[in-house]
Symmetry: C2
């Protein structure tokens, strides 16, 4: 089993931060190439006839190549898994083992990037013994760099520790959660209009979380707000920040979530499975399995007068499970 | 009828930009007071016992007072309507007439601000003859300042003209829209679980826009993405930017949209009513009436090979109307 000292981890963290910053710059360069420089007056690197999707694909591949090359040069013994390399291969089998592994999405929020909606980012996770221990998420259009290293805390722009509200104490989850919570969810790509298919199960779950207390046959959660950003990675980053209280999603791959889970867990958040167990009120709450494609994340929480922080989080997990439907996302070979 | 020269408008625009920047700084100061200074280590201006909602209310009121005072000092003859002043009064009647009027939301995205989710902003609109002619939207946590003045274009951070993709030409709306479009919508505050109430009509509309082509009895729109940000003002700003293609929402007030409409229209976007007319395919597409609480916005669009930009936008308006339900938002006294 691989063991890394804190000093080794710190060195890898510094390296990861550096490539995360440079990769974010490459994503912004890709924006500039499409709009003609910083003030829109420069020369376009692409002609009008270039398809926006092709341009985005090229940036995506270039950023992955940059990150992969940098890692292979510095840490030749480490494994590398990138979203782009997966997509081109025939298989989406789960490939992570106990060895030190980099799990990278060069461009998360691809649809957002295509449309130049700011919620896109590069996501770099470093995993040892199946556990994401370093996470870098750089959303350069919003000047937001999220990072964490096991034992070193989770940070926004290397300056503000996550969650943001922590002084004098991190607030517990609300007593009557999911009420007073911001609930983040995504519509995803599976839009088949199949009776009881994923789309309809998701929407039923969203409405249960949103509807007034007493509505939906007692399932109404009256959340404070429902948000959909189009980036699983940033959903996790904002949950670590404490800005989103609950994130519930299925269908994402390990490169979408590896860095986000590292940051969320280092900040004190909880991540478990999206699909409710048979007995939501009493089932054990296990850590989400990377590669499971089913995630429910709860923000960092401190103690209330009667509960530990973890107890307030687990209470919310059960309240969400009570309101959501199981989703059907398997993976080839799994 | 009030008439202002371009020079007068330019002066008002410079003034509005200045107070928009200063108001954005006040919103960030409010964040710092809650998390203890820029690095989280400073002294908290509020104690643990202060309710987050009360703190937000105080910031909201302070920012409105700042903006109102600045305007009254510089332009004592102008009318001023602020979200906070409305809320405290008994009436929500529509108060805008042909006189030069400032319509201000000191803090749009209040729920986001309470949770420190970055999608909050100050919104300052200046209206003459019922038409928003100057708009300032400052989202300081993301370093995004949107602005426009009639005749001077719409801008991001005073540097990048909107829409962002405009060189060598602004793209038309997609041929098969709403497919390939990002659709932005909000769940809002009306969560009553009433059969055929606003919540269920909204959700039915969202699902129609999202579902696969051929689904939903032919209404499936298969949009590229569905987004919910929790700020009507920023929805409009991002539509002006070209990042969101379609925004459909009801229930917002004039202070939520005045600045956003100014910016969207100056950028070349279209804004009309959310509620589909009896004959969506042929009804005239009229400009949204400020105060109507019903809005459908389409991003700026250039010509295709067979259509003008406006024609591509109007085609999308009709495609949206075909898929959405009419919503019930009246106003007291209207």
């Amino acid at each position: 089993m691989a063991q890394l000292s804190q000093q080794e981890l710190d060195e890898i963290y510094a390296f990861a931060l550096d490539i995360g910053k440079r990769a974010g710059k490459l994503l912004l360069d890709g924006v500039d190439k499409r709009i003609g420089g910083v003030d829109g007056s420069g020369e376009l690197a692409f002609t009008e006839k270039d398809n926006a999707v092709d341009i985005v694909t090229k940036t995506d591949e270039d950023v992955e190549t940059f990150i992969r090359s940098a890692i292979q040069e510095r840490y030749p013994s480490h494994k590398f898994l990138g979203e782009e390399s997966y997509s081109k291969g025939q298989s989406r089998h789960y490939l992570i083992d106990e060895k030190p592994t980099w799990c990278v999405d060069p461009l998360d929020g691809t649809v957002n990037y295509t449309h130049l909606f700011p919620m896109f980012c590069v996501s770099i996770g470093f995993i040892v013994n199946h556990r994401p221990v370093i996470g870098i998420i750089n959303a350069p259009f919003m000047n937001q760099l999220f990072s964490s290293c096991a034992g070193r805390g989770a940070w926004l722009n290397e300056r503000r520790q996550l969650p943001l509200i922590r002084n004098p104490s991190i607030p517990p989850m609300p007593a009557n959660a999911p009420s007073k919570c911001i609930f983040s969810c995504e519509w995803g790509k599976d839009r088949r209009d199949t009776p009881d298919g994923n789309l309809h199960r998701k929407v039923e779950s969203f409405v249960n979380m949103a509807a007034e207390i007493g509505g939906r046959g007692g399932k109404g959660g009256m959340v404070h707000g429902v948000r959909s950003l189009g980036s699983a990675t940033l959903d996790l980053a904002y949950t670590a920040m404490g800005s989103l209280d609950i994130w519930w999603e299925a269908g994402c791959w390990e490169w979408d979530v590896a860095a986000g889970i590292a940051i969320l867990q280092e900040a004190g958040g909880l991540v478990t499975t999206a699909n409710p167990p048979e007995d939501p009120a009493n089932a054990p709450i296990e850590e989400a399995r990377l590669g499971s494609r089913l995630y429910l994340a709860i923000r960092p929480a401190g103690p209330s007068e009667t509960e530990t922080g973890r107890q307030t989080q687990e209470r919310v997990v059960r309240e969400v499970w009570r309101r959501v439907r199981a989703l059907d996302y398997s993976r080839p070979g799994a």
